[in-house]
Symmetry: D2
Subunit: 319 residues, 4 copies
């Protein structure tokens, strides 16, 4: 919120009549009087202020964070109120909004994956092991997972459909599949990033020590990579991997746009299980195959009778 211009407040779950007072949706500028932001603590938050190197992500780390938002006597102009008591629309609103947000995760987090994959390759290369078979394999696994999530996000949008209003909505089933994958695979690729980066990400001293004339020289000696690589670049890249792989980005990948349990409920609900049952029933012969005659040109029973006769006659010849 701290980095935004506007707040859009929405219900976060389906509601009943007794919840009507909370069935509200509206937009206000973030600096509207009456709104309080209580900034949260997050992984390595205070370290961001220590020094650019120690921050890990020297340019952008300083600006992140979540906030608890309190509304107290906030005036919202009527034209910016989108819902005021229509509790029976809350479910649909949440599902639609969450669908978009869940779909986005395969773009957002995969962008971060690209950076951490690049950083992992860089660190391996700086130590002369980018060609080692286990490093290549680990990077390939990271890429495979990232592109899988990216594919899910793409499919969500491409399979989207036009609503009567003219707006498009993403595919609701695939959006939840995207996010469920993200809640697992982000952790997995960050784990591999830590594998490739090596123990140095937890033994690297602070920038103050690195800048110390005597101590810094020793650290530089201990952390140097292959010929021709500036050890200061190694420091920066190790901190970037640390920053990305331990940070609040992981629980955010878990719970942003709803927790995995919510995604599973939606997947179960939108999976079209009835149609899948029909397919199974048709194939195992419990249900009549309505399309058979249309496609094959003769009734199913007749066709299979003939086929079996042919098989029997061949069988006789083989044995």
């Amino acid at each position: 919120m701290i980095n935004s211009h506007e707040i859009i407040a929405l219900p976060t779950r389906a509601m009943g009549e007794q919840d009507a007072d909370y069935a509200v949706a509206f937009a206000v500028p973030v600096n509207t009087p009456g709104i309080k932001y209580i900034f949260s603590r997050q992984t390595n938050d205070s370290r961001r202020l220590d020094s650019p190197l120690d921050a890990g992500n020297p340019k952008y780390a300083i600006v992140g964070g979540e906030a608890v938002i309190i509304f107290k006597n906030v005036f919202v102009p009527w034209e910016r109120v989108f819902m005021a008591g229509e509790y029976d629309f809350c479910g649909a609103l949440v599902e639609t909004f969450a669908g978009y947000h869940r779909s986005n995760y395969g773009g957002c987090k995969v962008g971060l994956a690209d950076v951490v994959i690049g950083a992992s390759h860089w660190v391996a290369d700086a130590h002369g092991v980018a060609g080692a078979s286990h490093i290549v394999d680990k990077l390939t696994e990271m890429i495979g997972m990232a592109e899988t999530c990216w594919s899910c996000s793409l499919a969500c949008s491409y399979e989207g459909s036009k609503t009567p209003s003219g707006a498009y909505v993403i595919d609701g089933l695939l959006a939840n599949v995207t996010k469920l994958n993200i809640t697992r695979l982000v952790y997995e690729w960050m784990r591999i990033a830590q594998d490739i980066a090596g123990g140095k990400i937890i033994t690297l001293p602070s920038e103050k020590d690195i800048n110390h004339p005597e101590v810094g020289r020793i650290i530089a000696e201990c952390f140097r990579g292959k010929e021709g690589v500036d050890v200061n670049d190694i420091f920066k890249m190790l901190r970037l991997v640390e920053n990305m792989s331990v940070g609040a980005g992981l629980p955010e990948a878990m719970h942003g746009a709803g927790s995995p349990a919510a995604q599973k409920i939606m997947i179960a609900r939108r999976s079209g299980i009835e149609r899948k049952r029909e397919l199974a029933e048709t194939i195992c012969g419990i249900r009549k195959d309505e399309d058979f005659e249309k496609i094959v040109g003769k009734p199913e029973e007749e066709y299979w009778k003939e086929t079996k006769a042919k098989i029997e006659s061949k069988k006789a010849k083989i044995c």
Copy 2:
């Protein structure tokens, strides 16, 4: 091949000058004189002929199978020869063909997944446990995996591009990601299908025993499900799950269109790792951010200097 009208023969790997005699591609009808098919043995192949029930997939099981194909003095008309010695095109041809084939797997195998998911739900339901939380969770995992592969396949096509000839090619990176997922997830969802189906898939007797007047009655008693479900339908559905979850479809998901090791090589090769390295270098400050000034409107150094000054002044106020 046995079920096809035409053979299209292709090289299966990149070739050098010494392989020129094998750098051939052509098409012939399957019944062209001089071609021999040696039919392979596959899981439960002979059982397919025992009885429709025992076959598992009573209608379609009988027609599957792989064949070793031998060409001996086969005449191929010149207009059906697509490559004759141009060995330096073999790599590109294999990669293109394999790309299409690998992309397809997210359609083909997910179609089978839909059937086995439907069958699993049916079996759980027939035993009155379709609503048990662990069953719902397992079905949801199956659906999540299947839709993930489906998304990969969709993304391959949607991200395809037009070639100078006017034909479209799938996205080569995503095609290999699709197939790599298939080589793992098919096994996983079939494992869950066996979990849900229960021990009955390996204790169900043969159709002959089921049709025996005395023995059949006992079997029916042992295998019955919840009130109202015909035990004969349970027999059929159990056999379908067995058929799909143990069959040749699994190693086919592994090795069809190339083995996983081949997909990994292609993923590594097409991942654009250089661009990912640049992103990491830019973010951690090793590389100048070329776009910064364009986007933000002032040189990067100046911007960050100002930002840090602001932070320092706030910090002073906080402490």
Copy 3:
């Protein structure tokens, strides 16, 4: 049962008063009059009779199988009746028996894993790729999984305890953990076995074709491995991998000694969650640490007060 001398019949779940008639346990020879065995169909069962090679496991495949067992007017001598209506002991009996059986799985299935790992290495070696990095990695993963299950089984026994009768019982929590791992990892190592074996396991023709003078010669040419390896040995080893990786052994690993859902219930029940909660409460400071003063020699509050004072004084010096 078909391969055994005696049947020991047991209840398979906890029972109540209304189930008293079924709360029976007893032992009888397998050929006791009145017992009927209805043999089940299993993967590739009829193929076992076709030829030793096609059987896959040429010596031992023929003797496996499950059977539905029917008791009808079977006389059981009173001295071989172990339970007759004591329904309130059923739960404990099932749990104890299942515990032993679940513990065994880390021995039984890991023995099979050793064979399939050896076979996989053999096949890779016969094709000259046993040293390829991805093959080494896959074999190492198989070994890691197998030894994990073996460790679980060992720990079950080593952590066993003496009962008042003098008999020893395995550790009940670890037994269920062993079996839960087996229900997943067997499928995973068999998947890798199919990965390493390659497409040949589904394209290998029947022994009849292999023994045919003309066709056999062509097959031998198509399936040969590296210099010096007898192609007949390749046939045998491919069939062994096929036999072990598609067979009834997989659903048996899933459901034998109870299905995974049963193991999960037992793990949750025996996990000692209360003690784990206490540990967390003590560490985060909600609960008084009873052992602190005993170990450290002064009250906890006093100790931490002193420690914090020391830190503050150092902090002052650092800044």
Copy 4:
């Protein structure tokens, strides 16, 4: 090191003649003149000093950390020198030491797992969802993974063997299997801990805000759990989960006692693959079964000939 009394310095890899000067092992007190410790930065290190609550692990967090250790003109008494140039023993020394250390991980990290499992249950319970099926399932998975690692560690010790000196060594293969599991499963159970704890672990404000009279009241309202649970206890437990799941403990689980690639090399080397190949060869009939006649009482060929004759005669009767 900072928390220890003595340093034991060891070689960290196999060495050759040219490395003889580095083939040294010795022990000295940590405060021996000439030793410098450069303390490393780790996740949330400076936050540990902010306040007990913000530290996450209010009592013990303050004392952790790694250090780069520099030896410069350090006097080591000869009786505390264990190796001085015997480079050809480095490999064996490293392998033995690493074996013990790797084996320990199934104790050390599983102790932490017990705490984080307890904390996860506590948080779920404090919000009234400890009985939700997906929570029970997730906790059971955490327990299953932790007990698996614990079993590996137990098996390492129980399978240890006595050396000529009278000391015992752990089982070298299982030690590496233990550590390889830890490099993966610690990340997995910490991921689940974050799943169960919910988004609150990244939105919880600082202790300063919590202690603020007005703001603190609002935070308490936002973070309260079910009736009867003190919100201050919720704050503490959330911070404990955060502390344990993002901290340096994860890369430490990855790289301590050697990185996963090192464990894989050892597993491959100690797996006894030759014996596994022999088993496969014996079973598929390539290799003569040396034990058969001893066990069965007649030569193998004779036995199988008789068995097959029996089967043929039965087959004739069945058909």
